[in-house]
Amino acid sequence: MSSLNRDTFVAIVLLLVCGGLYVASLEIREPDYGQLSPATWPRMIIGIVAFLSMIYLVQSIRRGPDEKDDEKSWEGFGAFLAQWRNVLWVFALFLGYLLALPWVGMLLGGAAFVFLLLTVLGPLSGRDMLIHLVIALVTVGGMWLLFTHGLGVILPRGELTGI
């Protein structure tokens, strides 16, 4: 496996996706009307992606393995977590925010998301946390006011909080 590079894996994933989508396209219902079948256009694109992915695969194999880079090499799971810490936090907190949205609503959920994100990405002193809290409340609160009262958009209310 070490003789392969990152692009090879991406190309293989793309080819697998194309295969999966082609199989899924066989499930598309054929209506009795219309000249262009609803499956034709997606299949054309799948064909193009598959063709380009094949070229990409060949190119990546011909290029050979990735050069060892001390900075990029992952030494175990801990190093992986350390390298991608911020990104994983953003994903996790955004996911949590979305899952909590029906329960806590957009105002509190949004403010909590921004506050927590600021806290995990930024420094952790008491003063910084206070600044983060103010930023979260002012920005999300301001936006919430703008949308609900200024633009008349009803933002999601939380079942638990009622706001």
């Binding site: 219309g34 262009l36 992606v49 380009l52 911020n86 957009m106 600021l118 990405l121 633009l151 933002l155």
Partner: protein, 550 residues
């Protein structure tokens, strides 16, 4: 009638509310353009959800303001810090920063601001003149021609691909594929829904755009822990007064540079895929080549500031021309503008200007007005710019993510769109990490439905596939699509000094003369003849230089 529509458009744009929104838009654009790491496209795409509840003219005016502000904003950081705020202002730093370092930052900023203004105004005039003419031609198009036109626009992905052509093309095709998820617009049959209502309703493409462009960019910006906690730039204590009068006097002396650069910007903008990032370098290069003192370039020559700034502001007038006239975006930001029109149920097409004259004139007026507002706002935003650059990156990212989620929800009042934002943010982030350019994908997302709908319409009229290659306009677009697709190879071969590149232009001219002949009448066959003569001349020259001993 024209006057009535014009007055109505003035009333739309001239309202206090719209003007205030435009001022805010220009201010936001100036900031977004000035902050390195933020792109104009990102600023425009983040503005989209806010415009949803506005009337179309007001929403578009706001977006145009962000765009015009963004195009001008890059000069602030470029001149004061030496770091271009956007790729469109790279060349501005070549002479703007040295001029500022010589102790003349106010003069350099004045040159940049006024060049941006005149560049924008010249392109606005050209947009008003050209777009209706182009639209008149577009009225001749039938679905076959439109389909081929979209295919041509999609070949732009090749130009947007940058270093890796294959990755760019894959990204563009994936963009097309994303738009096939959900109900087919022509016959209403579900596709790739896997039994999920969320997938059946399809992805809201604005949420997709924000996820791909903004979310993934912010993730990339905070990826590194230490750089996320740093301020954007350390500009120190900047107290600058823009020297307007002196800059205007300088511009009056060098008006040829302003006009030439604006034309370069305008026509670069019309060319699909070639945006401000190319225009500013081209204009700088031309200014240097035609200067009597080329050795002064790079050392604080005023022309080195005037040329890139006049050209990059003129680009958007060019990019908006095919959008207004044909419904085909000239670049990514124009593609997002197309998205803005679509969320207001307005589908730009050749009949857009005649069917929606008030809206079309509103766009023209907004383009003019935004340039004036930009002029007035620069001094104010300069102070804000200094403050914003002191904000740490993670703060900006967290706040923008939180606000983007609210804005995305407001698009359709469904939480599913925020999920779309997350999924496409993740996808965009990984694509960036693996070196896939996102601009082609955006184009694919925007143009996917238009291509399929026109293919469907064409086949509903006739199942004769040869019409895609025998109708003059369809053939015309097919030919330029092929030449456009191989253009990156042409550029690469030219850099390597390959001889065949000399025959690229003659071959293109010869090929397009065929559909022009087929169009009939007097003018177009005349043009075809002209193309053939030019092709013969260029071909002869190319042949002679190719056969000449090295």
């Amino acid at each position: 009638m024209v006057l009535d529509n014009l007055l109505l458009a003035f009333a739309e744009i001239g309202s206090i509310q719209t003007l205030l929104l435009m001022i805010v838009g220009v201010g936001a654009g100036l900031l977004a353009g000035s902050v390195p790491g933020f792109t104009i496209a990102m600023a425009v795409v983040l503005t989209l959800p806010f415009t949803f509840s506005m009337p179309p003219a007001q929403g578009l005016a706001t977006m145009i303001s962000v765009l015009v502000g963004g195009l001008s904003g890059g000069l602030m950081s470029g001149i004061l810090t030496g770091i271009p705020g956007t790729p469109s202002s790279v060349a501005t730093t070549f002479d703007g920063f040295p001029l500022a370092r010589k102790g003349e930052p106010g003069f350099a900023l004045g040159l940049g601001v006024w060049s941006s203004f005149f560049g924008g105004m010249i392109s606005a005039v050209l947009l008003v003149l050209f777009a209706p003419q182009l639209a008149r031609i577009g009225l001749e198009f039938q679905p076959w021609d439109f389909f081929m036109l979209v295919i041509f626009a999609l070949t732009v992905t090749a130009s947007l691909a940058g270093q890796n052509l294959i990755k760019g093309l894959i990204a563009g095709a994936l963009g097309l594929l994303i738009r096939t998820v959900g109900e087919d617009e022509a016959v209403g049959v579900g596709r790739f829904d896997f039994g999920s209502d969320y997938l059946l309703s399809g992805f809201d493409f604005i949420a997709v755009l924000i996820g791909l462009f903004a979310f993934s960019q912010l993730l990339s910006d905070v990826k590194d822990r230490s750089s996320a906690q740093q301020a954007l730039t350390d500009t120190g204590d900047v107290r600058v007064r823009i020297e307007h009068v002196r800059a205007l006097k300088e511009l009056a002396k060098r008006w040829v540079v302003v006009v030439r650069s604006a034309f370069i910007g305008m026509f670069t903008g019309i060319l699909p895929g070639a945006g401000g990032s190319i225009a500013n370098i081209l204009a700088y290069d031309q200014a240097k080549k035609s200067s009597k003192e080329p050795e002064r370039f790079g050392k604080g020559n005023p022309e080195g500031v005037i040329a890139p700034e006049a050209s990059n502001n003129a680009v958007e007038g060019g990019a908006l021309t095919p959008l207004m006239a044909l419904g085909i975006p000239g670049d990514v930001t124009a593609a997002i503008m197309l998205g803005a029109l679509l969320i207001h149920d307005i589908v730009p097409s050749p009949s857009f200007i005649s069917e929606e004259p008030v809206l079309a004139y509103s766009i023209f007026i907004a383009f003019f007005a935004a340039n004036f507002i930009m002029l007035g706002m620069q001094s104010v935003m300069l102070r804000v710019f200094v403050l914003v650059t002191r904000i740490r990156m993670y703060m900006l990212a967290a706040v923008i993510l939180g606000l983007a989620s609210i804005g995305v929800f407001a698009l359709n009042n469904v939480a599913d769109d925020i999920w779309t934002l997350l999924w496409f943010g993740i996808l965009g982030f990984f694509m960036r990490q693996f070196g896939f350019p996102l601009a082609p994908m955006i184009l694919g997302v925007v143009l996917g439905n238009i291509a399929e709908l026109n293919l469907s319409r064409a086949l509903a009229i006739s199942t004769d596939y040869t019409l895609f290659f025998t109708r003059p306009w369809a053939l015309f677009f097919f030919i330029i699509a092929i030449f456009s697709a191989v253009f990156p190879l042409f550029q690469q071969a030219r850099a390597e000094g390959k001889k065949w590149v000399r025959f690229y232009a003659p071959a293109l001219l010869t090929c397009i003369s065929l559909p022009l002949f087929m169009m009939g009448g007097a003018v177009r066959p005349g043009l075809a003849l002209l193309c053939l003569c030019l092709a013969a001349f260029l071909g002869y020259r190319a042949f002679r230089s190719a056969s000449a001993p090295a």
